[in-house]
């Protein structure tokens, strides 16, 4: 028996359809950006450089002048900065809810580590203190926010049941409960700090990034490969050497090896001069009409273009990272690759891509493809795609399938991807992606430092020309952009949770 209404396929109203539409919308906005962009390749024969690089991989040379000292600098900056930032953040977390503190900290962390480095360089010169502060200032603001949230999420019943001073009650209730989470966040930040410390090399601090930049420019790929392997190994072994037994001696050694002192004698006049220089001349002389004209000029010549490139580039990188993650997660998922050892190559590729900082990948990309926007999109997209792919792979391993879905060969496996996994993981995938989107926007702005015309490009040029008023205005713009992105991402995540979670969990 068939009813007439069953003959025609009706319009579907499903959760999967809404998810698909959101993805299409995102992809379309990204692709609409394409014609605006110059992604034409300047270097039409990237194969040659790639060959040289692969040859370098075979002949990686670890006996390079300065490798060990660069490694020591990289680790020392990261260790010192994270420790100091964690201590400061721990204290600041207690006054996080005081009026004005949260916005101030939001402002501090919205300025990228590299921009902090550029500012502090003007006062402390190329010194250990510069590297330390560049990482420690934004990180302490981040630690403060995260630690405050962890304390707030800890159960208060133990605290209420104790008597005594606030401090002792806090230590024996809240702190004891929150300790494992504080430590695990500390380890995560240490990993970020290592990558950031490598990248500090791009403003001239003697870390692995600096060494890499010099060898790449000389075209000495065996050395380049050795440095890259060193960075990957450093990040990979973090769980091993960041244990208390090794961590504290290493920290002590780092302070002895690299005491945080400025390179030039600290002079108050230097700081005052810098502060004076950051104020536009028109304001200093009180000529507000000229200030308006100056702002308009900056908007037309630098800000508008820098902002547009930052947004467009990060949108394309976002799309690429989503595609990379969706394509890569089956490689490390038990449901798709059942034989454990066969998942190792997938893990290896994802680990390498997420251990190397975006900036470094973009820099290598520039060598392959010549100056264009492509290296930037590839670097941000691949690095974040690897992180998302790793998270998705782990998440997909937690999904249990019906027994009759589990068997079957290749064809069934491909079908499973679309009919079982994609619709189940997509909600979580969007939430993960939103977390990374904030980071991608931050990192895209910074790519300007190596010549891609995002905001960082104009900031870097302003510092080179000693036009500190311009630099400060541009840094404020990039900070506002980051604050806006953080706010938007949080709102979207909340909306997503309301839309997907209750019913989905009820059915799963």
């Amino acid at each position: 028996m068939s009813l007439p209404k069953l003959d025609q396929v009706p319009v579907f109203t499903t959760t999967a359809k809404r998810q698909w539409q959101s993805f299409v919308l995102l992809a379309l906005t990204a692709l609409l950006c394409l014609p605006w962009l110059d992604i034409e390749l300047a270097n039409t024969e990237p194969g040659h450089e790639l060959q040289a690089m692969l040859a370098g991989l075979m002949a990686a040379d670890f006996l390079i002048d300065g490798l060990w000292s660069a490694l020591a600098h990289t680790v020392a900056f990261a260790l010192q900065a994270v420790t100091i930032a964690a201590l400061l953040g721990f204290v600041l977390a207690h006054c996080y809810r005081l009026p004005g503190v949260a916005p101030l900290l939001a402002l501090l962390r919205s300025v990228h580590e590299l921009f902090w480095a550029l500012i502090i360089l003007q006062i402390c010169g190329l010194s250990a203190l510069t590297g330390l502060l560049a990482l420690a200032i934004p990180y302490s603001a981040t630690f403060a926010r995260v630690y405050a949230e962890i304390f707030e999420e800890t159960s208060t019943s133990a605290y209420d049941s104790l008597s005594g001073s606030h401090l002792s009650r806090f230590i024996f209730s809240t702190l004891v409960q929150a300790w494992p989470r504080l430590c695990s966040y500390f380890r995560y930040r240490l990993e970020c700090a290592l990558r950031a410390s490598v990248v500090l090399g791009f403003v001239g601090l003697p870390t692995l990034g600096f060494l890499l930049e010099s060898y790449v420019k000389m075209g000495q790929y065996p050395e380049v490969m050795a440095i890259l392997m060193m960075i990957v190994a450093l990040v990979l072994t973090i769980n091993w050497w960041a244990k208390p037994m090794l961590f504290w001696p290493l920290l002590l050694l780092s302070f002895i090896y690299l005491p945080p002192v400025p390179a030039i004698d600290f002079q108050m006049t230097l700081l005052l001069q810098l502060m004076q220089d950051t104020v536009p001349a028109s304001i200093a002389t009180g000529r507000w009409d000229q200030f308006g004209a100056w702002l308009l000029m900056m908007w037309q010549q630098q800000i508008a273009q820098g902002l547009a490139y930052t947004l467009v580039l990060s949108q394309l990188a976002l799309l690429l990272s989503m595609l990379v993650a969706l394509a890569a997660f089956p490689l490390i998922s038990r449901a798709f690759v059942r034989f454990g050892p066969l998942r190792i190559p997938g893990h290896f590729i994802l680990v390498v891509l997420r251990s190397l900082p975006e900036m470094l990948l973009a820099f290598l990309g520039l060598i392959f493809f010549g100056p264009s926007l492509l290296p930037g999109i590839l670097a941000i997209g691949l690095h974040n795609g690897a992180i998302l792919g790793h998270l998705l792979g782990r998440y997909s391993n937690e999904i249990s399938l019906r027994v009759d879905v589990q068997d079957g060969g290749m064809r069934a496996s491909l079908g499973r991807y679309y009919y079982e996994f994609l619709p189940r993981i997509y909600g979580q995938f969007l939430a993960f992606t939103l977390y990374r989107w904030e980071v991608m926007l931050r990192e895209t702005a910074i790519l300007g430092m190596i010549g891609i015309p995002t905001l960082g490009f104009y900031i870097d040029s302003a510092f080179e020309e000693f036009r500190f008023d311009r630099a400060m205005l541009l840094i404020v713009v990039s900070a506002l952009l980051n604050i806006l992105a953080e706010y938007l991402a949080r709102r979207l995540r909340q909306g997503l949770r309301q839309q997907t979670s209750p019913r989905l969990t009820a059915c799963c």
């Binding site: 499903t14 959760t15 064809r411 009919y419």
Partner: protein, 236 residues
């Protein structure tokens, strides 16, 4: 169709069993069972006695011929009922054909699915996603997903438990009419007697009842179980 002799199973053999089931130890040992083609069999017994474990084992004996209808449907919440039902036939179609159905269902597949869904009363729910359906509707989607495979054996674990009393025998008879051999795990004795032609009762010690449905009534069946259980308690 199925021949089981001297079978020993523990809960970990039943991968589709619920989590609480899996946590416990061995189920039964030395079980003997024959099920002939064309039979409609009800497996009954107290919960935790190993019905699901046995059914899962039966499936593993002839996976290609079995349409599987587990108690925990494991359907995809975000996908439409249509796609959840169609997914039962994924291995019968090429990858690109199935991908096309996901993006835009063809009218041919739509009619095939609708024909299976219509007698189950869910034809008007096909374009909605599972997370918008009630428990009873989801259970019927689960049955449709098994029926559309047109396999000769239907194995169902409490396939109609979420339906109302009026619908249960209707749906069960509908299933029995569309599969040559059926084995249902059921807890409702009247339903088992009404819709099946053979009743197999399991307890801790194995098969305690094996009788044609016409030779036994619900009262008798319940008594048999009570008797056996008090006996088991005494012997412990």
């Amino acid at each position: 169709m199925f021949s089981v002799s001297d079978l020993s199973l523990s809960y970990c053999d039943a991968k589709s069993g619920s989590k609480s089931d899996r946590a416990r130890g061995p189920v039964f040992s030395g079980l003997n069972l024959e099920i002939a083609a064309g039979e409609t069999v009800a497996l009954i017994g107290e919960s935790g006695v190993g019905k699901t474990t046995l059914l899962t084992h039966l499936r593993s004996l002839k996976p290609k011929q079995v349409a599987w209808c587990p108690q925990d449907p494991g359907l995809v919440p975000a996908l439409s009922s249509f796609h959840n039902i169609y997914a039962g036939t994924l291995d019968q179609h090429s990858f690109f054909y199935s991908l096309r159905q996901l993006i835009k269902p063809s009218s041919l597949e739509w009619q095939k699915v609708a024909a299976v869904a219509e007698p189950l009363g869910i034809a008007d729910q096909l374009s909605r996603s599972l997370d918008q359906l009630s428990g009873g509707q989801q259970q019927r989607v689960n049955i449709a997903r098994a029926l559309i495979q047109k396999k000769s054996i239907f194995l169902g674990d409490e396939p109609v438990s979420a339906l109302d009393e009026f619908q249960r025998p209707q749906v069960l008879k509908h299933i029995a009419a569309h599969a040559q051999t059926c084995v249902f795990v059921l807890h409702d004795l009247d339903l088992a007697l009404e819709c099946c032609d053979r009743i197999i009762g399991l307890s801790d010690s194995g098969v305690v009842v094996d009788s044609a449905a016409g030779d036994i009534d619900a009262q008798h069946l319940a008594q048999l179980f009570r008797h056996h259980q008090s006996h088991a308690v005494k012997s412990q």
